[in-house]
């Protein structure tokens, strides 16, 4: 078994990662855990980058040379465990861990598995990197970087206030599209190289589960593994009645290629994907019409943040919207006719309007990609396509029993459809299979929307917190600070923004933080780390922030909270969701 390990790949390949790429790898989008279908897109954690992989590689190298006995001991344990649970599982395995799907979730799990000394393989039927790297957060960040600069250059008023003079800004569509494409391929190569460098076997072909601990790769190859993680991700969800032609009626997959910039585009769905694309399209000169089934735009956000965001991101731009309506039929442009969209009232189902636009982007969420995975072979029934799992990502079969050695992470389980959430779930699974129980606290997972300015959040929204407080009988308080009071924000002439803290005044627990403003996506981590580590407000408010920085917005926020308890409480237990 040891002989099959390959440690020959030079670790230096991973060092080619540019530091500047990190910015582009921030998570793209999120949604609250309670609404899985609205969850969108993905992010890429730091593990995706190979800067630390040299050390990791040498660690695992050393580990393997010195501790094969320990690995074998683990083998025995797992084999006996599977014997007691199953009819006829394989007795020896090709791999310790087999991951189906080389997206960001699978990649995060693979890196952690190698660090823990597991012999790991990853199956990819399409391209390494999955949605996030190829059709999601990564290329969209390239487009948003362009839109942010275009906005700055077009804002005469803003430039004038800074004393700058710039003549009319223009752009080359193909150049912008190439930038997005180049970024995706660069990150894809980094991801592939980082896994190769660590000795992760990349198996090409679609993975199908044949039975317990057994997976078919492609048409004939069968691979066995002690533990299997399903990480097959998701695809854009297209509601019935909508005909996607990839040219005038498109999904995010097509939009990210930026093959055209229509004069007028309708965006169906005003969640994170829709919002980010509205930012891109309006910066490039398009007019946008939002179509939202719910009564208000941006339904996933904290209402106060959503309202402010609408005032900044929607109202002053060339955007209008129809809320409380379904797009029942969307016909692509053909025979000299524009794209037509038929709208009905979401409640009464009566026909309302017909729109004629140049293009339509379907951003109604994402559907799990689990079809053809062979789940029926192990008696697992998906729920609306999602693989049912428990809080430890263990797959639940149709009788409600846990399927041994089978886990599902990321968009395929629908718990929190974010790339970095998938990766965190993968790491959690690896912790469990290597003998350390671990439950991921989803309330500590931050999320961000990369509009200009950005929106970010972690934990509960105000209505969610109020509901929880009511149920569990505690009080909550709200603290808010404005970017207008922040020196750095004012220096950038970007004082528009709000940070909001929802907390328990009795013990100083942070329940949720929501930020709308300059670099909000980068600012949220102080709050998400505090939640993850159980840090209370009375402790974190004593921490020092460099002046003048945007991070002082959060400093102010924590300081403005009024906690009654002065003694810091012990770290709270992680809460499963």
């Amino acid at each position: 078994m040891q002989s099959s390990l390959s440690i020959s790949v030079s670790p230096h390949t991973s060092l080619t990662v540019q530091r500047s790429n990190r910015n582009a790898l921030e998570p793209l989008a999120f949604a609250p855990p309670s609404k899985p279908l609205n969850l969108r897109f993905c992010g890429l954690t730091r593990e995706a980058l190979g800067l630390s992989s040299l050390r990791r590689n040498s660690d695992s190298f050393r580990f393997r040379l010195s501790s094969s006995a320990r690995v074998r001991r683990a083998d025995k344990f797992f084999v006996s465990a599977s014997l007691s649970d199953n009819g006829s599982p394989p007795k020896t395995f090709d791999y310790d861990l087999l991951i189906v799907g080389a997206g960001v979730g699978g990649h995060g799990a693979a890196l952690h598995a190698v660090e823990k000394g597991l012999k790991t393989a990853i199956i990819e039927g399409d391209v390494v990197g999955g949605t996030c790297v190829n059709r999601g957060c990564v290329p969209s960040k390239a487009l948003l970087a362009v839109s942010g600069r275009m906005r700055e250059l077009q804002n005469d008023h803003h430039l004038k206030a800074l004393g700058l003079q710039v003549s009319a800004a223009g752009y080359d569509r193909q150049g912008v599209a190439d930038h997005a494409n180049n970024l995706a391929s660069k990150i894809r190569n980094n991801l592939t190289n980082s896994m190769k460098a660590l000795g992760v076997d990349i198996l090409t072909g679609f993975g199908t589960i044949l039975g317990p601990q057994k997976v078919k790769v492609g048409s004939d190859k069968v691979v066995t593994a002690k533990d299997i993680i399903i990480a097959t991700g998701s695809i854009p969800f297209v509601p019935k009645g909508i005909e996607v032609d990839g040219k005038t009626v498109i999904t995010s997959d097509h939009a990210l290629k930026l093959e055209s910039v229509p004069d007028w585009i309708a965006i169906v769905g005003s969640g994170y994907i829709g919002l980010e694309f509205s930012d891109v399209y309006t910066a490039l000169g398009s007019e946008v019409t939002f179509i939202e089934a719910l009564d208000q735009l941006m339904p996933g956000f904290d209402p106060e943040i959503g309202k402010l965001a609408q005032r900044v991101l929607i109202n002053p731009r060339k955007i209008d919207y129809h809320t409380g309506v379904f797009a029942t039929k969307i016909t692509p442009a053909k025979d000299g006719k524009p794209v037509t969209i038929e709208l009905i009232d979401a409640k009464t189902k009566e026909p309302k309007d017909t729109l004629e636009v140049d293009a339509a982007l379907i951003a109604t969420g994402r559907a799990p990609f689990t079809h053809g995975l062979g789940l029926e072979n192990i008696n697992v029934a998906t729920q609306r396509g999602f693989v049912p799992v428990d809080e430890r990502m263990r797959v639940i079969d149709s009788n409600g029993n846990l399927v041994p050695h089978l886990y599902c992470i990321g968009d395929a389980n629908g718990k929190m459809m974010l790339a970095h959430a998938a990766s965190a779930q993968g790491i959690s699974v690896v912790e469990q299979v290597t003998g350390r129980d671990h439950v991921l606290n989803h309330l500590s997972i931050p999320a961000a929307c990369f509009t200009h300015p950005e929106i970010s959040m972690v934990g509960l929204t105000e209505p969610q917190a109020r509901e929880k407080a009511e149920k569990e009988g505690f009080e909550i308080s709200i603290a808010k600070t404005s970017f207008k009071a922040n020196t750095k924000a004012l220096a950038e002439n970007e004082g528009e923004g709000l940070a909001k803290l929802i907390y328990r005044p009795d013990n100083g627990e942070i329940l949720g933080v929501h930020i709308f403003g300059l670099h909000a996506a980068d600012l949220i981590h102080e709050a998400s780390n505090a939640i993850a580590l159980g840090t209370r407000i009375q402790d974190i408010k004593l921490a020092v922030h460099a002046h003048p920085t945007l991070s002082e917005v959060l400093d102010e926020l924590f300081k403005s909270a009024k906690v009654k308890a002065h003694v810091s409480a012990p770290v709270s237990e992680p809460i499963a969701v």
């Binding site: 275009m150 077009q154 005469d156 003549s167 009319a168 800004a169 223009g170 752009y171 080359d172 569509r173 055209s260 910039v261 229509p262 004069d263 007028w264 910066a283 490039l284 000169g285 007019e287 946008v288 019409t289 309202k307 005032r311 109202n315 002053p316 060339k318 955007i319 209008d320 006719k337 524009p338 038929e342 009566e350 026909p351 309302k352 309007d353 017909t354 729109l355 004629e356 140049d358 293009a359 808010k480 404005s482």
Partner: protein
């Protein structure tokens, strides 16, 4: 243009709008007005007799044209005391608490939560006593009915039914219920926004875009503005043309650009001035000039100058005192059918500021003494410089004063700002040889004052009499210091 393009436009009545601080971040504002001055054609007598006040949609920012009711803090039947927050209004910029300026009972909510109303429209009614609640509710029913705002009698709510009004009234506007089947929307989002901004009825605009679509350029053409964006930019065009197009597409209305010329779009303030100036063309105006001897005024000015009194305050005070005697010159014609008499004398004074023009208003100029007025004026100027004037501080004028005398201009002609009855253009005071009745020559300082007025309500004799009074006050200025 040697005239005075005025930015400000008084609100529909002598509203008293004031802002006060609050612990919350939102700016609370008092917005209430007495309906007796709000709409003269509507049951004026009734409104004056009973103390039912309208709570109306405030203008929370200079760009706000309509506001949305976020929430009613008080419910119908609640007793309100002065300064309490009643309703939260969402403008294009922020949510603001609106406070009541009077004690009373919230009798009726005319515009419910979640709905929008144009600035100045009544959103609720405040009764002074319980006995007036029913009356107020009856009024509210008539208001919430989607009839024309000038309806004389209450109209039954359904707009599609044909009421038989006892008194002739304008026909209700064409019904536009939501359920009239699918209709095609052919205006782009930005076109709709522009139409709202420039008050263009989008349904009357002929679309020239692809598939007959109404484009932003179509709306701008309809509004009489040079389109700022090329028509029909093709998908995939490499150039974004906003707000200054690098390649302005040829448009029918725009003359060919002179080579080397640059196009600088209006600022918001300049756009507002431009719009008001175009609007002023709808008013038939005439002008009357009058020479005024200023020796006494100049002497007084020298005396009070050390006490901080400015010439602007002196002239505003003089004009206000003259207006007290000639209320018609302080009136407004809103609908072309009636005089709207203003109960306050608010003197707007034209002030040139960097890149624009604004008219800070000296409210109740007839009532304040010269020193208070001067102080007030300094405060307004400071705010104007900092662009911090509140809407009521620049759009509540009932009469405007413009003085180009300091530049040596001896006479000029001012444009009447829409919504006011008259504007006074003051030239420079200069030594003039004068012959008196006995044939004696002397040298006196004289300035020429030229008033432009709305001839629908102010006639030549009115202006002449007003100017004579004004001249008398200036020539015997002792009364100014009283």
């Amino acid at each position: 243009m040697a005239s005075n393009p005025f930015l400000s436009r008084p609100t529909l009545s002598n509203t008293s709008i004031s802002f006060s601080s609050s612990t919350s971040t939102s700016l609370p504002a008092h917005f209430l007005r007495n309906p007796s001055s709000a709409n003269y054609s509507r049951r004026r007598i009734l409104s004056v007799r009973s103390k039912i006040r309208e709570i109306f949609m405030p203008a929370l920012s200079s760009t706000m044209t309509e506001g949305k009711i976020v929430s009613w803090i008080k419910s119908e039947g609640d007793r309100l005391s002065k300064g309490e927050s009643v309703v939260v209004v969402e403008s294009d910029k922020a949510d603001m608490d609106v406070e009541t300026f009077y004690d009373g009972i919230l009798a009726a909510i005319v515009v419910p939560e979640g709905e929008s109303a144009p600035v100045g429209a009544p959103i609720g009614l405040l009764a002074e006593t319980e006995s007036e609640i029913d009356e107020a509710r009856a009024k509210a029913t008539s208001k919430s009915a989607p009839s024309s705002p000038k309806a004389v009698t209450p109209t039954p709510p359904p707009p599609t039914s044909t009421p038989a009004p006892a008194i002739s009234q304008p026909p209700p506007p064409p019904a536009k219920p939501a359920s009239d089947g699918p209709r095609k929307i052919v205006a782009t989002p930005f076109a709709k926004k522009l139409a709202k901004q420039h008050k263009v009825n989008i349904e009357s605009v002929v679309g020239t875009g692809p598939f007959g679509r109404v484009t932003p350029a179509d709306v701008e053409t309809a509004a009489g503005i040079t389109p700022s964006k090329g028509i029909g930019t093709n998908a995939g065009s490499n150039i974004v043309s906003q707000p200054t197009p690098p390649r302005p597409a040829p448009s029918v209305a725009a003359p060919p650009p002179v080579p080397g010329s640059t196009v600088v779009p209006f600022t918001t303030m300049q756009a507002a001035v431009s719009k008001n100036m175009v609007d002023s063309l709808a008013v038939p105006t005439f002008r009357v000039g009058y020479p005024v001897t200023t020796d006494a005024l100049d002497a007084l000015y020298e005396k009070v100058k050390p006490k901080g009194v400015t010439m602007t305050a002196l002239l505003a005070k003089a004009a206000a005192m003259a207006l007290v005697q000639h209320p018609v010159v302080n009136a407004t014609c809103k609908d072309g059918k009636s005089f709207a008499h203003n109960s306050s004398i608010n003197i707007a004074v034209a002030v040139a500021i960097d890149g624009g023009l604004i008219t800070p208003v000296l409210q109740d100029a007839d009532k304040l003494d010269l020193y208070l007025l001067s102080e007030k004026w300094k405060e307004l100027l400071k705010k104007a410089r900092a662009k911090q004037l509140q809407p009521n501080e620049y759009n509540s004028g009932t009469f405007t004063l413009s003085n180009l005398g300091m530049f040596g201009v001896d006479r000029f002609d001012a444009i009447l700002p829409p919504g006011q009855g008259a504007i006074m253009a003051v030239g420079a005071s200069k030594p003039t040889v004068v012959a008196d009745a006995d044939g004696f020559f002397s040298v006196k300082s004289k300035m020429l004052v030229n008033v432009t007025a709305d001839h629908r309500i102010i006639y030549g004799a009115d202006l002449a009499a007003f100017l004579r009074t004004f001249a008398k006050i200036v020539e015997n200025p002792e009364s100014l210091t009283l």
